[in-house]
Amino acid sequence: MEVIESGEGELFKAPDPDGFRAYVREHKARGLIDKVMTEKEAVAKFVADGDYLAYDLCWAIRGPNSLLREIIRQRKKNLGICGKFTYLGIAVLAGGECFNRVDFGYVGITVPYVEAIREGNIRISEWSNNALTMRLQAGAMGIPFLPVRYLGGADAFHYSGAKLVKDPFTAKSVVLLPALNPDVGLIHVHQADIYGNARVFGSLLSAHEVASASRKVIISSEEIIDHEEIRREPGRTTIPHFLVDAVVEAPFGSYPGEMPGLYTSDSAHLGEIAAASLKGMEPIKEYIQKYILDTESELDFLESKVGLGRLLELKGNANIKEGYR
């Protein structure tokens, strides 16, 4: 196959389908195993310094925010970030100085890390939201790459790790995206059983792709449901147990974001993060100290920093239930 042009962007995770197969053979449990643990245990066990992280959310909706807070609490360092659709989440991680490389799809740009990019402390590669989810798709299919009909021609292509080739079937130009298999996938869901069979209601984003493509998968769930409920309606399972390493019961786990059908976002709190992140590193560090480092667990955070009254108010504000049960 003729390569017409190659992007010069760094591949933070190069495709390695055989390596991933070998990992899956060894590490993905086929049996039904109780995987329930706390945020603290899951992050300590499955997130290592230097890991490449993919988390599934849309801006501030259905984000695994309790897990991201715990990553900051445990002061994880040098993570790589699959930056699709991540806005305030990455601002908070930036304040925690948790990562040193980002694949750009859409990333909320905040003062702290434009500086870090300029100084070379954060390495970047350029893609797009769908280029990243298609890379995850290839990773989820166990193949080295997938062809797409976008990204070519733009400077974004030049700073990506994609290739423009002559398609051997049609003789037309086509862009090849390399598979992406993150070290860690974090996904917040509406319901899961203790084994990791999980249900997402609403737009799916790339929940299944992230779960299939990632070596270590942590599910946080608003609710733990009985395994028999999964058996009764298998068509509603979004992510099956054998992809999952840990299940964390995380009511209000998407706070301050929305969990569709269950609670609305706390826009005042989101505004506080946005304002801090636009001001610079010190304000976002103050935010992190106050809300994350000064709390010792997610329960402590919800109790002492948010409060039952506010949580119930957000729950009450969720006036749309159709489709979420």
Partner: protein, 271 residues
Amino acid sequence: MTTATAFTQHEVAIIYLARMVEEDKSYWTPGGGRPGFALSLAQKLHAPNVMRMTEEGCISAQPYFPIEPFMYMGGARSNYRGVLWTSMNQICYYNTLGLVDYAILMVLEVDPYGNFNSSMIGGDYYHPQRRFGGAGGANEMASLAWRTLLVTDQDRRKFVKKCNFITSPGYLDGSPNARERAGMPAGTGPYRVVNSEAIFGYDEKTHYMKLLAISSWTTVAEVLSKMDFEPLIAEKVETLKPPTEEELTILRTEMDPEGRVVGAGEWILLE
């Protein structure tokens, strides 16, 4: 229909776009901002069942306004009454199949061939003076939709000879088949650029930007003075009808009572 006399630049752009929306066509847009608001306004005025997609995985929502900041894509209100909730990849497959007629996108900078920037300004890629969010879904939308509508302010810093960075492709260098050579489907590309002052199209042969219409309160010379390059000019430049009270009332009372989106931009006051 009563012609209004006071409105913001964002309101005008949303209304011009909304008037262009056809119910039997399909649209791929961000959920919020001027593009998403234009579709929602069209749904309330003349195209209630228009087929619309947002990239997080929702098809044909009929959003429930008002919507909180940051919640325009994937939130329960923004995804209300859709016909399908699916994955980001499935949305893009439908687009690759050719199911999307129009993408509507915001841009930071646009050049004469409709190439646009949403990534960075100043310096070089690895040492940007200012860095922005990046492509998001704009690159795939601008590559795959049959026609792309771009939205930006009429400003010399927005209509530029050369973008600081081409995040998403227009007609590239304007040469025949440039998009196909770069891997995109044939027959696609920029179609209109819309803002509160003017509407531009593209010359079919040269793919160069062409001024088609201006607002009733401005002149061709004034529009050209707010551009870093001189576009082609249509033989007959149309004059656009100002917003009506009916259109503005929906935007201000039903959709955005706090004015977070529609209140942005300068006020335009007619005599």
